[in-house]
């Protein structure tokens, strides 16, 4: 690829938040017709750099040039007008509007000054179709899973993009199929000469799509590299800033030994009309059960029923052999079941509370208001998990809203781990988490299962599911279609086959 003049140049960017220097003297160049990966650990400053660029945050130091002209956007609206469109890390759409409106709001097709909803829906359906998404564009956004919402946000940005398209972890909850669709679109856009910024923690994706990589560490620039010239191993070392040994051990990560096969939870014919067809499932202590399926196949629905987040309208649940009626999350928690929702912003974080408060929340709720967790115990627990999960900044008094996306996810994981559950339901636990931390979490799951904890593991990353689970439950169209034991014979291909055909290979 020939060196062109950069369309975008950021020089000496600095940004300080109270107590944190998020960016310090960062340079970033973006050329037309390239896909530029922005890499770094959780909290390295990737999202902040993007928000500086689009004017969400005021800039403290440095300058930005677009097409050689100095610019300073007052906000995303101005950035959009200048041809810069962005998918921010957390899905930023309006839950109360329809899918089509979320894509076209601000740019609606109009007739006689009035919005033409019919035309808008048609255009939206076409656009979503090109991304391989087949949903009713007239449906309300809030009814869709995180993955679908993420696709909608991408569709919006792609449609707006004129010169620069910025995607901040767009693939964090997409499965392989959706990622492939997205990449097809990205390649098309690159052909058309768009400059694309791409943030992800999936190294494979970086190597598949990007031309150039900029690495940040602790708010500082490590360097800019051509993807072809930087090995995966070097990239990771540049990101974490030390010799790589941790990463290798993940690759060899063996799934835990099943020790105690007594059934902990048994679901018989449990289902909920419109959400998931009745299914039966047994989870043993010490067992990791992985759920596999495409986006919207009903994995989250299944998990929610087991936790009582939604009410089942058929079937029976037994915990320790005793039937239970799930009246709500409380019933599940009283039986030592924990559930990490995939939807960290709307169903997980209490944004204005501190890291400490967010972490002890579930434990405290379990104890009741009158028995506060003693402050010393709080501090110990929080310190332990801040350390174990490498939550940054490590100050437990930080307001959770101010944490980077990946660190927020770790906080939620910590919230459930300290309750010492017997069954841990993890819905996309590694969403937005960097390579190092992901390995830590996987190791944690293995070791907890080794100690007799049962885990229900949902992840868009099939490899991850395969690596960790003893049993894999395959879902399709909101029904369980197969349950397979994860022997050596089972691999990604055979599972994909099952998903596609609904028959065990």
């Amino acid at each position: 690829m020939a060196e062109t003049t950069p369309i975008l140049e950021m020089r000496g960017i600095g940004k300080r938040f109270p107590g944190v220097t998020a960016l310090d003297g960062v340079d970033f160049r973006l050329h037309p017709g390239e896909v530029h990966a922005l890499m770094g650990e959780n909290g390295a400053g990737k999202s902040t750099l993007i928000k500086i660029l689009t004017g969400v945050y005021d800039i403290d130091d440095g300058a930005i040039e677009l097409d050689g002209e100095p610019v300073l956007f007052s906000g995303p609206q101005q950035a959009q007008h200048a041809g810069v469109s962005t998918v921010y890390q957390e899905i930023n759409l309006c839950p109360n509007l329809s899918v089509a409106e979320n894509i076209y709001i601000g740019r609606e097709p109009r007739r006689f000054g009035m919005i033409s909803f019919r035309a808008m829906r048609a255009k939206a359906a076409e656009l979503l179709g090109s991304l391989g998404i087949d949903i009713d564009p007239g449906s309300v956004l809030a009814g869709h899973s995180i993955a679908v919402q993420q696709m909608v946000a991408i569709a919006r940005a792609v449609d707006i993009s004129a010169r620069v398209l910025i995607l901040d972890e767009p693939t964090s909850s997409l499965d392989a199929g959706e990622v492939a669709q997205l990449f097809r679109v990205i390649r098309d856009l690159r052909e058309q000469g768009l400059a694309i910024v791409f943030v992800t923690h999936f190294l494979d994706q970086v190597y598949e799509i990007s031309d150039r990589i900029t690495v940040l560490r602790n708010g500082r620039l490590v360097g800019e590299f051509r993807t072809a010239e930087l090995s995966q191993r070097d990239l990771v070392e540049k990101m974490i800033g030390k010799e790589l040994s941790a990463l290798e051990s993940i690759e060899e990560q063996a799934k835990p030994q099943l020790r105690d096969p007594s059934p902990l939870l048994v679901a018989e014919g449990v289902g909920r009309t419109g959400a998931i067809a009745p299914f039966s499932l047994t989870i043993h202590a010490g067992e990791v059960v992985g759920l596999a399926g495409l986006l919207g196949s009903g994995r989250s629905e299944l998990a929610r029923l087991l936790f009582g987040a939604d009410k089942a309208d058929s079937g029976e649940l037994r915990v320790d052999g005793r039937p239970v009626t799930m009246r709500g999350p409380r019933s599940a928690m009283e039986r030592d079941i924990a559930y990490l929702s995939e939807n960290r912003r709307t169903e997980g974080l209490i944004e204005e509370l501190t890291v400490r408060e967010n972490i002890i929340l579930a434990l405290q709720a379990n104890r009741g208001w009158a028995r506060p967790v003693p402050r010393r115990q709080q501090d110990e627990l929080v310190a332990k998990y801040v350390e174990a999960l490498r939550i940054r900044p490590a100050d437990p008094q930080t307001v959770v809203r101010n944490l980077s996306g990946g660190n927020q996810q770790k906080v939620l994981l910590a919230r459930w781990l300290i309750t010492e559950p017997r069954l841990l339901i993890l819905d996309e636990p590694t969403r937005g988490i960097d390579v190092g931390a992901k390995a830590d979490i996987q190791r944690l799951v293995v070791s907890l299962a080794g100690d007799g904890l049962a885990v229900l593991f949902i992840s868009a990353e099939l490899e991850e599911v395969l690596r960790l689970s003893h049993t894999i439950v395959v879902l399709r169209d909101r029904a369980v279609v197969a349950q397979v034991e994860n022997t050596d014979a089972v691999d990604a291909n055979s599972i994909m086959n099952t998903i596609a055909t609904g028959v065990t290979a």
């Binding site: 609206q77 469109s85 930023n92 601000g106 009713d136 679908v148 919006r156 959706e178 169209d477």
Partner: protein, 326 residues
């Protein structure tokens, strides 16, 4: 490989009108109960009178609907209505021609709203405080103009006040027509214009709306301006109705307007609701008042308890009909 996302229920489109339909049905039932219990209640004019007597409130509530849809609140409306009547009366007494006086007060109302919107947006102060200060300010200005009422003798006001439009024995006032127009325009703006949809977007999630590149500031200032303008129109209608400016006019009207909007199914947290709902909300309040009047033998305190009771029964049934996730 393509995704196998099954297309799902299209029921959403109908479902979103369930709250409104439910409210409408309840309203009809309530009206029916009135007819059964009170002699003379069946007279259609009774229904029309509700709109005649509440046209100004309706307009004010429409403005409030915009504000509440963005998740804000406007406490200043009652005072702005009063101020409008006062300024209008004063100007007319000073010999201003009617059209000039009307335009002047409309501009004044919109300007007040605009200023409050600016303070809310630029200085990031909670709408509650800003509009409360606006409420004090407008009411204070009324007293500064005069502490007693000023009657309006302008012929245009006299004729408008007594003009009746109607077929046969059924009549409405020009004010009702104006209020109806405001409702239609507001409904169209909210449903079919970019501005209107942005209002909903802000109510859904203001931060997202900003990140989506929508003109959040402009829209937010816009809704307060609209609310101010609607208050001024409401003030004009009230001045037709009362033929006077009075610093004590419309005390507590903000609460009536908010109540009408919320009873109409709009969420106070923003993002969900319709102008049509607000019309129904006004009708509910008006019908309750009419029933009270027809009851005719309630002492003052029983009147209040009865109003509370009717309101309770209504919202309870509404809640049962429209079982929504909280």
């Amino acid at each position: 490989m393509t995704s196998v996302l099954a297309p799902r229920r299209r029921a959403w489109t109908i479902r979103k009108y369930v709250p409104i339909l439910g409210t409408l049905v309840l309203l009809v039932i309530m009206y029916g109960i009135g007819i059964v219990n009170y002699e003379g209640f069946y007279n259609t004019q009774i229904l029309l009178n509700i709109f005649i007597d509440n046209s100004f409130l309706l307009v004010v509530a429409v403005g409030m609907t915009f504000v509440i849809l963005t998740g804000g609140i406007d406490l200043s409306v009652g005072s702005v209505v009063a101020l409008t009547t006062m300024v209008c009366a004063t100007l007319l007494n000073d010999g201003w021609p009617a059209p000039a006086a009307m335009i002047a007060v409309l501009v004044m109302g919109a300007l007040l709203g605009f200023l409050m919107g600016c303070v809310i947006h630029f200085f990031e102060i909670q709408p509650f405080i800003v509009t409360l200060a606006g409420m004090f300010l407008a009411r204070g200005l009324c007293y500064v103009i005069s502490t007693s009422s000023i009657s309006i003798d302008a012929p245009f006001w006299k004729t408008t006040a007594q003009e009746r439009i109607g077929v046969g024995t059924f009549t409405i006032t020009p004010s009702v027509v104006i209020a109806g127009l405001v409702v239609v325009i507001a409904a169209v703006v909210l449903a079919w214009t970019r501005f209107g949809r942005t209002v909903y977007a802000i109510g859904g999630n203001a931060n997202s709306a900003m990140l989506m590149g929508l003109g959040v500031g402009r829209t937010r200032i816009g809704v307060y301006t609209i609310s101010g303008l609607c208050s001024a129109i409401g003030g004009l209608l009230l001045s037709f109705y009362m033929s006077s400016g009075d610093p004590l006019h419309a005390i507590g009207m903000e609460l009536d307007a908010i109540a009408a909007v919320v009873i109409g199914g709009t969420l106070l947290t923003g993002g969900s609701g319709y102008v049509l709902g607000t019309v129904l909300g006004i009708t509910v309040l008006g019908l309750i008042q009419t029933i009270i009047t027809f009851q005719g033998n309630l002492s003052s305190w029983w009147t209040r308890i009865f109003i509370g009771g009717l309101l309770f029964v209504f919202v309870l049934l509404q809640r049962a009909v429209v079982r929504r996730t909280p």
